[in-house]
């Protein structure tokens, strides 16, 4: 593990989704890999920023302004738009631009936050390919091809260990 970067598992660790031996392996790797440690710290910092945003707080004078508006509007006045619609629509061009900008910023932040949360875990389940079985499948399918080898894997000794090929020296 120390010579293999954890990749997507780092994001899972940041999100607290990693447990057991996998978590231990990532932590051991972080202890010896400054690059991954820096990456981890960056992700933790970003996650902290996003979680601190929270919902926007209402102005302290909102109640008073609502009461004042209600008092200023004559009862049953014709052609009046709903109260909330008027509240959210600035009466000056500058105010409209500011409101539009704030809206775009809020949506962007919401999108980024959603993408960040959705992108935390690696794609799909963790897979341990059954290489020996796939090798047999390969051999069975390529039975008619001249240079295909017999399905020699797995060759298992009586004590359960698997036969390893002999290593040869030199380059081809």
């Amino acid at each position: 593990m120390t010579d293999r970067h954890p990749g997507d598992l780092l994001a899972a660790l940041v999100d607290g989704l990693l447990a057991g031996p996998a978590r231990e392996r990532v932590l051991v790797h972080l202890a010896g890999c400054p690059a991954c440690r820096a990456d981890y710290q960056q992700q933790v910092a970003v996650k902290g920023l996003l979680s601190e945003l929270g919902p926007p707080a209402a102005p302290v004078d909102l109640g008073a302004r609502l009461t004042g508006l209600a008092a200023a509007v004559p009862a049953g006045a014709p052609g009046r738009r709903p109260l909330l619609s008027r509240l959210h629509r600035p009466q000056t061009p500058r105010g409209r631009v500011a409101l539009a900008g704030a809206g775009i910023a809020s949506l962007s932040l919401l999108g980024l936050g959603t993408a960040y949360a959705a992108g935390g875990a690696p794609d799909g389940p963790a897979v341990v390919p059954a290489v020996d079985l796939l090798t047999r499948e390969h051999a069975a399918t390529t039975v008619g091809i001249p240079m295909a080898e017999p399905a020699l894997a797995p060759l298992v000794f009586g004590d359960g260990s698997v036969a390893q090929p002999m290593r040869l020296g030199g380059a081809p």
Partner: protein, 347 residues
């Protein structure tokens, strides 16, 4: 060994044994221009012999895998119609031997012989070389040459029973990249020993063109050609986390399987070590055939092949790869893709 014979036999049978209108034996498919008909006939007999001749012997198999050069010394016993018993003597710490049984396949020709013949004769020119001697037995020598004249493979066929005594595969520079040779071979007219009961392995269902088209539409890699090899077989296997797509590519001489399954490679997968193949970082097994694994785009890809290293590297390079991307931007990209897929699952 038996695979070799079956290989050759498959195409040779299709070519040479189809009876003519007058009852004579003549090729049903003409051999490639320049191919020696007698070489094709020898290969045909070798294919038949691999299934019909019982024998025991000691074979040395070696090759150049992603992890470096590897070799195995095997004790082989073949009983016609039953299968192949293989022992690897004394290669573990305890000094005991390992054994494996390779039963006769349920489907003797998973890939159409005519298809292999077509690929082989389109890619190579078959011819003969001077007879030679292997393990004290005389042998006919058949060569497969590339269009540039270089020898791609050479087979030594027993003059008495047509068994493949030796085979070698060469790269474009003429270096031997894979070889097997019998150090000792004893044909047995009536084998006294019984192999384990035959349990014929069933292959996954073969996929038809419409199913492949639908699979390609999902964005999964399923090209018609890959690294100079042609797609000759496609099957679907059951897997623990969903179906596994098995694609087989060949040029009639070498073969590479590509297995694709949803998910990401567990870094704790045993038996694999980091390697670089085709310019990409992958995980590789130690042994023959070559075993190369990596994940990209939400899929785990496993490439298993009996092919020269250059061909294998081209296959690996032609498949999708995703660098080990960590950090904020890759996470946002991954999350954006997922959100979009939630909004439009048919995209």
């Amino acid at each position: 060994m038996n695979r070799v014979a079956v290989v050759v036999a498959a195409f040779a049978a299709a070519v040479l044994l189809a009876p003519g209108a007058d009852g004579s034996v003549r090729p049903a498919v003409p051999a490639a221009a320049g191919s020696d008909p007698s070489a094709v006939a020898l290969l045909l007999r070798a294919v038949s012999a691999s299934e019909s001749v019982s024998y025991r012997g000691v074979q040395l198999v070696s090759g150049w895998s992603a992890g470096g050069p590897v070799s195995r010394r095997l004790e082989i016993e073949h009983v016609a119609g039953s299968g192949l018993l293989v022992r690897v003597p004394s290669t573990n710490a305890a000094g005991t031997s390992a054994s494996g049984f390779d039963p006769a396949p349920a489907d003797p020709d998973p890939v159409e012989p005519a298809r292999l013949l077509d690929l082989l004769t389109r890619s190579y020119q078959l011819g003969r070389a001077a007879d030679s001697t292997v393990a004290g037995r005389t042998a006919h020598v058949v060569e497969a040459r590339r269009p540039d004249g270089g020898v791609a493979a050479r087979l030594w066929l027993d003059t008495e029973n047509s068994l493949v005594l030796r085979r070698e595969m060469y790269d474009a520079q003429g270096r031997t990249v894979r070889a097997s040779v019998f150090l000792m071979l004893v044909p047995e007219a009536s084998p006294h020993r019984h192999l384990p009961p035959v349990v014929r392995a069933a292959l996954g269902p073969e996929l038809a063109d419409p199913e492949l088209t639908r699979y390609r539409a999902t964005g999964a890699p399923c090209p018609a050609t890959l690294g100079g090899l042609t797609l000759v077989d496609a099957r679907e296997l059951p897997g623990p986390s969903g179906p596994i797509m098995h694609l087989t590519y060949s040029d009639g001489l070498a073969a590479v399987s590509v297995f694709e399954q949803a998910g990401h490679l567990d870094p704790a997968t045993p038996g694999l070590r980091p390697a670089v193949v085709g310019g990409h970082r992958v995980a590789a097994g130690a042994g023959l055939p070559d075993q190369i694994v990596w994940s990209a785009g939400g899929q785990v890809l496993t490439v298993i092949g009996d092919a020269p290293p250059q061909t294998l590297a081209a296959v690996v390079a032609a498949l999708p790869h995703g660098p080990q991307r960590t950090g904020l931007v890759p996470r946002l990209e991954r999350g954006s893709r997922r959100v979009l897929s939630w909004l439009n699952p048919f995209a």
